[in-house]
Symmetry: C2
Subunit: 162 residues, 2 copies
DNA sequence: GAGGCGTTGTTGCGAATGCAACAAACTCAG
DNA sequence: CTGAGTTTGTTGCATTCGCAACAACGCCTC
């Protein structure tokens, strides 16, 4: 007698043509846009976007924050953050302060120079972003954001940048 | 007397909220999706997506191709491609052959192992891409591709992957 | 409070990266 | 032909990266 077996392995699906087109466009365009903005920052002798994001996340938190609580929203690995903070600390933009309730970790806080640097970066970052995205209007941008967030399984609205 | 001066510097625009949301979603989602697929390849002990793309581009060209003609569609810098080919050649996936009409360059061609490797990678790449993109349907994917291509200023249809 | 286990963060090391300098070949005006 | 200028591709070097190993602490059970 034949029984319906529990399907252990799905059939290996091949992406449809529209999916492939979306995949390719996503790769190419996100890279191009990102490079445009990074170049603008580099030309202004300013640090990487990552630095901005760290500073901004710390500023949003509005209180000293532990690395582990930053790594998640930043989408980066612990060891990446560790060395990132090393370099930012060397440049005097953040400082590690002792963490009272967990002696292995510490709390991260921007220095005054850190706050100022983020603001200075924004004066370059913002126009560069605007320029890089100028080919689409607000309505399209919103639609794009919604499609992307659905694709990424994000169903809460992501807070804007600054 | 006041004259209308030629506007040398545009007013530094701040991205609208929808633009910022699209920007953020683009960064986050493209990274997440890409990592999913790269992980699948890594778990299968297969090379990087970049390798796939080089092999695929060479296969599409259907004839030995010069590095400079590859670097553009691949969106990578000459020196990146140079070392990439070094490594692929070491692994026996492509070979550099002398270029008759320009002695400083050479022509790139996949080896038989190269063709086979691309095919093998596709058996992992394709399902991984499909899985990573499963949250959207074909109609949405098409819409997404169109929006992205408009954003990137690409107005020719990008050929699908394989 | 000792021992096992998960968490948090860092680091040594080999590989990869970006940048600027470079070599070699092509082009073309004079 | 000669020499200036461009194109094509590579490489030395310092920086950065990924991975796996590691130290240090917290937590929980006995």
């Amino acid at each position: 007698m034949r029984m319906q077996q529990t399907q252990l392995k799905e059939p290996a699906r091949i992406p449809s043509d529209p999916i492939q087109r979306a995949w390719i466009a996503l790769g190419r365009v996100s890279q191009a846009i990102r490079e445009d903005v990074e170049l603008a920052l580099k030309n202004a002798r300013l640090p990487d976007i990552t630095w901005y994001t760290v500073l901004w996340e710390l500023e949003r938190a509005a209180k000293p924050t532990r690395p582990k609580d930053l790594a998640i929203p930043l989408f980066i690995l612990p060891y990446q953050l560790s060395r990132l903070v090393d370099r930012m600390e060397e440049e005097g933009l953040v400082k590690r302060i002792a963490c009272p309730e967990d002696k292995r970790g510490h709390l991260l806080e921007p220095t005054p120079e850190g706050y100022e640097m983020r603001k200075r970066m924004w004066t370059v970052y913002a126009p560069a972003m605007d320029e890089a995205m100028k080919r689409i209007g607000d309505a399209e941008a919103l639609q794009l954001a919604q499609l992307l967030n659905r694709l990424g399984g994000i169903d809460y609205p992501v807070p804007p940048k600054a």
